[in-house]
Symmetry: D2
Subunit: 474 residues, 4 copies
């Protein structure tokens, strides 16, 4: 639709990946999945879908758009059954068409199976080539299709063995939920890149990317699905199996920095508190004389609170977010500069006037948006503008499910601090150190993947991945 | 559409009224108006419209929906001309159909004229009856149609005299902009209920409900249109005329409490700072022993900051807003209680646990939403929950443009503090006093209309107004 | 929408005008009106609307599009009441926006009134100027708005006198139905340009532009509303009044030639039989040696049957109509010539091959479409192509409701028969004579308006009308 | 959408199957395919799609709806390439969802391949089971998916051998076009059930279900693709291969009776002329004394012309078709009987009155629609109504691509002529004999499949097919 109207959606620079949800044994499983997806909407706004089983057949519905819009009308009423899985998506690999929306459902010799996937495989090209050579055909560019092919082709005897055999061949990041006619399966790669939690509501087990989904449906958090763990949930209860691959905790640290909702617990710990600790740490590492601490809403809010508390500089919400920006925004002609950024965020002139400002950002990617925002602060009268960033400089791409821009586009990749400072138009800039970041974490530092800052990839990519290599279809 | 899909939009309890914008003499007038409306979107989300003149003819476009959606595609390109007015609407009188969207454009003997209106007349029924008796016919239920009839029927000789004659017959609240082929007019009732500001961009005058519209287009704020003032802007410049009716400043205090954007200046002063002062005052008037101060986002943020600073209790953003709630939300079946409120706002469990919380609300209307929110806080583990409200108890309806519920529905109308406290489920409640509120204002207290708190209406209503009396058409 | 998608609808060269329907006293009045409009859809495909009264209030719904699409869903269910009027529209004056869709409903001092109008006034500019001078304001460019202003402004005492007073001021063509809370009115100008029939179903009176509407709802045709007659239908029954203006029958002969459905009776007589007589007459006047008679479907079918019977040349449906052309068609690039015309009509190659063809057209307007069709026939192998047209050459514009192109565009206006023949690419051409046309009619020749052929206008136009003069709004 | 709005489309009783088109080597291949599909629209109105190759990649677009609507806007511009295939669909097997729209495109080890299929396999369940057992997974319920699986799994070495190997395993009706990055393939089953023609335009080869597609794009018909023939078209020209299976001509006789457009040639001969011969034959076999011969438009037109010529009873188009019935029609409440049928077809009262009518139908399926039509004729005044049907009684289901109702629903299956006559409300009925039908054909009788009349199926079905057995997904 964007192409037709010539408009473009206003999204932030960083694309989030995906959110998954699943529930077994609740008569209102589709509605609860719908609510779960609502709570996980921040993880993907391009498409939404639900697959439900009534014990005999799987029905599914998915479409482009936000959860509330996709399931407007009486679609949910048609999704009757006691077990369901759901998905919200922002594309990483795979183009953004409806065809690539999830859950992905197929028929095979024993029945039907549906999958919802968060993450990104690094050996997908290898597996796909291998499968194609053995006669498989592909209709989409999704990792999910590969996973189901591996499952169906497995020579193992039992259903559980087939699942484990299929997953054992995957390399990369995956937190997945699967649905058959009579069970759901939840699995997480042995690195644990992406989060996946287990909850319980009225005796029914449910799984979700973040605990905020449990809060919304009044479900109780039980524990995380472990890295390398596969949970089979059916009428006989819950069984945990382990992948044979060696477990090496490599939790995505960016989930704490930016992705997850602050009210969520992920990897067993709260996001809000972690962000505040980053802010405190940042204040210790990069102090500055200033009159007020101002967050870039909303993601910079929590680190800014920490920074303000530690530095004892007053906290002010000096930049106001417009909550009604709609789905589209027509860029006006060139004569009005920087309109785009101010449509979303506007500084409070009275707070800026003649003040020394510390702006707290959760991260800087390209720097172009920051540049415009800083200019707006100065036009509003700020005397000095200092930026403090609650994570280290971002220098390397992510192969595990986050859609960062290419290395070349990353502002920190090829610039000194001074150059960044000048490019954005700041009086000073300060990033949180990698050590400071890890110190702020609720878990031991060696449990995290920090590849986007350090380039130390816990898992090497097999063959050159190209986000666009598979996207030859409209 | 709602009726078709069986869904309902999620709006807050208080409906905002309308926003207006106008600009004279800029070759990109329609685009600037579009941007101005974008900034004023919080004042009305039901419909949006723009009328533009190329010097000879007036063209207009309006539709139901947000500004960005209404003007998606290339509609703006067709609205060529150097002068324009625009409107965003939430209905007060007049049903919410497209027919009642604004600007409202008519032809008469001398040409065409368009109007955009924020406010509510109290003698509209009287004027309409009188006009109908004299042969006027009506196609809508809007005050705007009445105003244009009065203008066209005026026997005064000059255009300016006709306008002033028409406005002199109005009783009630109106901040309006008018557009003819070759001029715009901006006028404000002699009580000045609703705001209206004058700005300048590249030598072109513009007017807007709030200054945040000027910020977005890099326009400079000049001054407010005065109560009882009529500004005529054409190629000869700007001329100010006064209505003969006596001026009595009665600025809507609720614009400071809730309606206007915090980054706006209205009635000549900043909203953010006023709200922080209310919070400080509230902390002085209604102290409480507690562990953290938590705002209801986003409108409670600023008073909460003030409260925290004054009370020295730590400020925490303990309730998280979901930014992706979409246009519709299907209410799940009854077994999941209070879902609706948690879809929008979710408490951070870790912050609540075993804590004494001071919740800051900007206002309480019916109390039913607050009740659900407090229950969610308790379920998240809060030990004590105290509510502090940054305005006095709300007891009387507004006849000047705010769509409060009926007196009977207002929680404070017929309940003691103790009863309210119990109804909502609080450990304690405290409202800002009327004196404290007025002390927090940047202007003298007698300049405000406080009728919704005190029942002292600056202007009596003529005949019984019924919001629904005119809404007999589909 | 067309402008957005860059496509254009496929319509025939001649635009039809409007269709009206009304019914009093049936509990299913809106549904019957819907069905009546369905049958009258050929008279206007741009917009459709229904207004219904439940005895106290008038509700209405109208939108752009075909009747079936406008009233899809459950809109009809909301239109409850025992009396209703409806309208389908192709614009003649007034631009094609929703604002100009009908029925047009207004409020005035005594209640509400709705109008549906087929025809075109010739003194609308004069009346509008006069009304504007007396203080009326206009929101549309429709004649209907003028009529209601005249009604409301009438100083006559009774409702009936007001209606008659208003209609007496109109000059031009109008077949109208009006709806108030408790009655419907049907009126026809004193020339009777456009048809209007009275029917009865289960004791309820109904009116319609053509009798095919009665057939669909199993209503019985009673008689025509007479030229200059005004029928008032309410709970007391039906009352006929006459306008004081002199009656002069000037039935639009083009209704018989092209507009009306062949299964309809208009002006008291059947259309199908009239068209066959034209074809017989044409065969007598313009014989030709040929192998087959081929109609241009569907409008040329009936004259072709007559021509074939009279000439004893075999009738073949040698050009096939594609019934699935949809609402839009994207013109392919220039390399494929004449595609547009063949999408709709394709010759049967086997019938054409080496044959001498007589093509029967009901009329030729610009000749450009005919030119392409004839080329297609020749490419399909026709040896000779002779065209016979079942009406005289079309040379003058219509001011009474038919949207012919301008005089300059009419092929017959400035060309000899030979030139036309050559332009279209024919072996010979023959038009029915005006005398022959009149002889074929079921009524005396002096009862018809033949101005588009002869230039003898029964009613002169007051002031210069310009179709586009009023269309200054978007 | 139908389910949402509560409306249903008006389709005739007999569902048509599918239409295919393909072209190689034309720079405007997508546009020509679009036009070809436009001409084939009568073969399927539920979905439309085009796949195009630019030599390296295949792009495709498909959606629910008519060709013109699916490809509205600028979608065609994005489908650049010199080779393309297209499809219009009415479902036979496979539910009517977007997922089952065609062309169906997949990736496999050597690249991509797209397929468009007209027909129905009788061993699809067998092949699917076999494929699933060997590890194939299915995302749709279409035969097309099976065909591509067989192709990809073939162990044959060359591309051509693989194609032929795959097709050799199919039993049933298929006229298919395939597209790879650099060639198109056209194939027809060895029975030749469904038509498929080869044409040439500007040196480029094209294929289509019927020649009317060639007419529209000014392409020249060359010959039919033979039963059992596979054509490979690439930059080296055209190569014909034969399937090893024995050829047995079994052309679908219903294509001549009803499906194909009268202006098309299929199986090498013209449809219009065949239908006229059926009508002549019918007049000889089943004469009747009557005043006029009246066709049920449009499909009965041509047989009626033949009947009238042979019987010398005058031909009249006594039943008029409404061309503007839109996509939806809301069934009115029960009090108005038979409205549905009259919305589409209305008798001309003046022609019916007191006349003896011979109604010509191309076929009768359930008889319920005929019953209503005959009642309408009688209500319009017909004295006698005799029906003559231009094919034999329809008694058996079709397994080769036509969606007849079940045997039980077919009126002729379990009724004598007298019973049918009474059920429909006729004075007499007469069907064309099977011998008469075959005599009217342009080819020898033994070249046709007449199973729906005789029950003699040229090819037995393997396993019980159930149209709904695969449709378990939403």
């Amino acid at each position: 639709m964007n192409k037709k109207t010539g408009t473009h959606p206003i999204y932030s620079g960083l694309k989030e990946n995906c959110g998954v949800f699943g529930i077994f044994g609740h008569r209102d499983s589709a509605r609860l999945t719908y609510l779960g997806l609502y709570a996980l909407q921040h993880r993907g706004q391009e498409s939404a879908g639900i697959a439900v089983s009534d014990g005999n057949h799987i029905k599914s519905y998915k479409n482009m758009g936000l959860v509330g819009d996709v399931f407007a009308g009486d679609i949910l009423k048609k999704l009757q059954g006691k077990l369901a899985i759901g998905h919200v998506r922002y594309s990483t690999t795979g183009s953004s068409s409806l065809k690539n929306a999830q859950p992905f459902v197929i028929d095979y010799s024993k029945g039907s199976i549906a999958i919802a996937h968060n993450g990104n495989l690094v050996n997908s090209q290898y597996l796909r080539n291998k499968l194609e050579k053995s006669g498989s055909i592909f209709q989409t560019t999704m990792d999910s299709e590969i996973i189901l092919h591996l499952f169906v082709k497995s020579k193992k005897k039992s259903f559980e063995q087939k699942i484990i055999h299929a997953l054992s061949q995957l390399k990369g990041a995956y937190s997945i939920v699967l649905l058959t006619e009579d069970r759901i399966i939840a699995a997480r790669d042995s690195y644990g890149f992406r989060p996946l939690c287990l909850g319980k509501i009225n005796g029914s087990y449910c799984v979700a990317s973040e605990t905020c989904a449990f809060d919304l449906i009044n479900s109780k958090y039980i524990r995380d699905i472990e890295p390398g763990e596969v949970l089979f949930i059916d009428k006989n209860g819950i069984r945990s199996r382990k992948l044979s691959t060696k477990t090496r905790h490599s939790f995505c640290i960016f989930e704490y920095i930016y992705f997850s909702r602050p009210d969520s617990n992920i990897f067993g710990n709260n996001v809000y508190l972690a962000r505040k600790r980053m802010g405190r740490q940042l204040a210790g590492e990069c102090p500055v004389e200033a009159d007020i601490v101002v967050p870039i809403p909303d993601s910079g809010m929590y680190a800014a609170l920490g920074y303000a508390e530690e530095s004892r500089i007053p906290f002010e919400i000096g930049v106001i977010r417009n909550h009604y920006i709609g789905r589209t925004f027509i860029q006006p002609s060139q004569f009005v500069r920087d309109i785009g950024v101010k449509v979303k965020l506007n500084p409070v002139r009275e707070l800026m006037h003649n003040k020394r400002i510390v702006i707290i950002e959760d991260s800087i990617v390209r720097g172009t948006t920051s540049k415009k925002r800083i200019r707006a602060l100065r036009e509003a009268g700020a005397k000095e503008v200092h930026m403090r960033v609650s994570c280290p400089p971002h220098r390397y791409p992510c192969f595990y499910g986050i859609d960062f821009p290419t290395k070349k586009e990353l502002i920190a990749n090829n610039r000194t601090m001074q150059e960044i400072c000048k490019f954005i138009g700041l009086d000073s800039i300060g990033y949180l150190s990698i050590e400071g970041l890890l110190d702020s974490m609720p878990l031991a530092g060696n449990k995290f993947c920090t590849a986007c800052f350090t380039g130390n990839y816990p898992l090497k990519i097999k063959g050159k991945i190209s986000k666009h290599s598979l996207e030859k279809k409209l």
